[in-house]
């Protein structure tokens, strides 16, 4: 009854093409933004920001970037952690080596460096396809792991191999408290989500999807494979790079290459697949799922007062995590976002059967 588009007539092309054509969706998104920007900073406890909201926002940004590559352009990448690392270390070098560089500029420059590396490692995708490409992208992962560990120029010759940033500020406002960090991340995520949502419904997004569905057919109807694939790699690694820079600067503060290792890449791929390939909201749902699941599993023994050793608890956790991943893939192979869209279709008709 509530969710229905009856009576919402479109009288201009502008109205017909807007981002959320159904009024209820617009209201819901605005309400969500209001809660995220106003209510949460006022009400939420500090722990919530540090342990859940900030990692959630940054990783959903990274998942969004990965979703553009995997979900929209169909190029499987297992090297996302590498592009995050490039973003983080490039932003660090910009910040350290150029005095007085504004934070936002260095984050974006970090993203630009990641774009360069992403395009470089995207070039093989013009010849290598499918699972061969997936394994080949691991080259990026292991190469950057090695480079940031062994080449001391990248870490500004730090003796311990880890780098740290401090005294962050945006336009003179210090980014110290969890709330300000959260708002910075939220700002980035909102802007990039809006950009991504618009990109994937523009001509370039349609070219990516054509590439994904069948690249030979797309090439036959005049889509340049090189342009489509490399732009997907570029846009994706830019977003992933910015997310990596945020992860290092805002969430961790001090980090080593291990923060962006292969497990991170798998984690992001899980988010994209569990959330839903080729769906912007899916990236967020997937990130929420993958971040909340281990936290919940951690709590379960405490509810039942089961004394478990840490090692056993972590093994049980990894078992349950794996089993749940398989379970969700079986129940909904198209991701949790598909559940929402099926629910929406049902809601539009409810309470009538047809």
């Amino acid at each position: 009854m509530l969710y229905r588009e009856n009576g919402q007539f479109k009288t201009s092309y502008r109205a017909d093409q807007q981002l959320f054509p159904v009024r209820q969706d617009r209201v819901a998104i605005l309400a969500l933004l209001a809660v995220a920007f106003v209510l949460l900073p006022l009400a939420a406890p500090e722990y919530l920001f540090r342990a859940i909201l900030i990692p959630f926002l940054i990783l959903s940004l990274a998942a969004l970037g990965l979703n553009i590559l995997v979900g929209y352009c169909g190029q499987i990448s297992l090297g996302t952690g590498a592009f995050m690392a490039v973003g983080a270390y490039a932003a660090y070098n910009v910040q350290v080596r150029i005095p007085g560089m504004p934070l936002i500029a260095s984050l974006l420059l970090g993203g630009l460096c990641a774009t360069g590396v992403g395009v470089l490692f995207g070039i093989p995708s013009l010849r290598i396809k499918g699972l061969y490409l997936a394994v080949a992208t691991l080259a990026a992962q292991f190469f950057t792991d090695w480079a940031f560990l062994r080449i001391s120029w990248f870490t500004n010759h730090s003796s311990s191999g880890s780098v740290s940033v401090s005294g962050l500020n945006v336009f003179g406002l210090p980014i110290e408290s969890p709330v300000s960090k959260y708002l910075l991340c939220l700002g980035f995520v909102s802007v990039f989500a809006l950009l991504a949502k618009n990109l994937v419904r523009a001509s370039i997004g349609r070219e990516w999807m054509a590439m994904r569905d069948m690249d030979v057919a797309a090439a036959v109807i005049g889509i340049r494979p090189m342009y489509a694939k490399l732009t997907a790699f570029a846009v994706s690694s830019f977003i992933v790079g910015v997310a990596g820079a945020l992860w290092g600067f805002v969430h961790l503060g001090a980090w080593e290459p291990a923060a962006f290792n292969i497990d991170r890449s798998f984690q992001l791929l899980f988010m994209v697949i569990i959330g839903g390939l080729g769906s912007i909201s899916g990236s967020f749902i997937g990130a929420a799922f993958i971040i909340l699941l281990p936290l919940l599993l951690n709590q379960v023994p405490r509810w039942f007062d089961m004394p478990l050793s840490t090692a056993l608890a972590s093994h049980l956790e990894s078992m349950i995590f794996g089993a749940l991943i398989v379970f969700f893939l079986i129940v909904e192979p198209h991701g949790l976002a598909r559940l929402w869209s099926t629910a929406r279709e049902k809601l539009r008709l409810w309470p009538f059967p047809h």
Partner: protein
């Protein structure tokens, strides 16, 4: 020259061991089109089972013989791997028929997490030893030809021989038995195989069991070299470039790819390593495979990828 030969032999034997793990990937991909990321977890699980059971049996039944303990441990671990294969097929793969390759890949990653957790819950997470009586002393050969001769690790030699035997047995199994023919038929075309009455589910259980037993052998060999511990499941990451270099669907490709990667890794570490500051073997294999795939996108012996609209 003696040193070069030593490195070369070392590389060839390391390559055989990579090939052994790569074989598990290829078997499963050929028969079910699943890129099995859980192969590393299977190696760890099998090795853990073998190590613990061969230690437990003498305590339970009060006997001394090491050979008997190892044999019983091997049989138990093999039975466990068959059980794992059956469960994977029943609970997971049979419900994911006709899904995208990437979904299946993620499902196997889930299985990998599960097996890692299960193995360490059941068998503990210390470092365990597998002692199947591999000779430890290195062997000196060709002393007449070169100064100081060429040093070969006997342990590696035995491992390489075991791997070669296993490959030969698998080749026989695939070429000469009825089950092997059915496996090849399924690999060729699922639908056609089904339509002439080959039961897909049973074939998948068989192929996952074979891969599990290959994982067990790989686990024993690697485990007696490095000790059985969690890092064993990361060995699989070393086998991935081997798989794509050789071609996802080819058993000879896995062997040759393993040899190429093994030799390339060792030689590059010695002759290129100093230029880059060492530690390059982590990524060298991947970059080698990547460059190679640029020339032949389907790997050395992979089936030619034909694009149709």
């Amino acid at each position: 020259m003696g040193f070069f030969l030593e490195t070369l032999f070392g590389g060839l034997m390391a390559g055989m061991l990579y090939a052994l793990i790569a074989l598990g990937f290829v078997l499963i991909y050929k028969a079910s089109g699943v890129f099995n990321f859980a192969q590393g977890a299977m190696v760890l699980f099998a090795a853990l089972a073998m190590a613990r059971f061969s230690g437990w049996y003498p305590l339970w039944f009060h006997f001394e013989s090491k050979l008997l303990a190892n044999l019983l441990g091997f049989v138990t671990a093999a039975a466990l791997m068959v059980a794992v294969a059956w469960l994977v097929e029943r609970l997971c793969l049979s419900r994911l028929v006709n899904q995208d390759g990437i979904t299946l890949l993620m499902a196997t990653l889930g299985i990998a997490y599960f097996l890692d957790g299960l193995g360490q819950t059941l068998f503990g997470n210390d470092i365990y030893k597998i002692d199947v009586g591999m000779p430890k002393e290195p062997l000196l050969v060709l002393q007449g030809t070169f100064d100081g001769g060429v040093l070969i690790s006997q342990e590696d030699l035995v491992a390489a021989l075991v791997a070669a035997t296993l490959v030969a047995l698998l080749a026989l199994f695939f070429q000469k038995t009825a089950t092997g023919r059915a496996l090849r038929a399924v690999a060729d075309d699922h639908q056609a195989a089904q339509s002439i009455g080959i039961p897909l589910d049973r074939i998948w259980v068989i192929v996952w069991s074979v891969a599990g037993i290959v994982a067990l052998v790989a686990g024993i060999i690697w485990g007696s070299k490095l000790g059985v511990q969690f890092s064993l499941s990361l060995v699989a990451l070393k086998a991935l470039p081997v798989v794509i270099l050789g071609g996802l669907t080819s058993i000879p490709g896995a062997i040759l790819g393993g040899l190429i990667i093994g030799v390339g890794e060792k030689l590059s570490e010695i002759y290129l390593g100093p230029m880059f500051g060492g530690g390059i073997e982590i990524w060298f294999a991947y970059v080698l495979a990547l460059l190679f795939l640029l020339v032949r996108p389907q790997g050395l012996f992979g089936e030619k990828i034909i694009d149709r609209v």
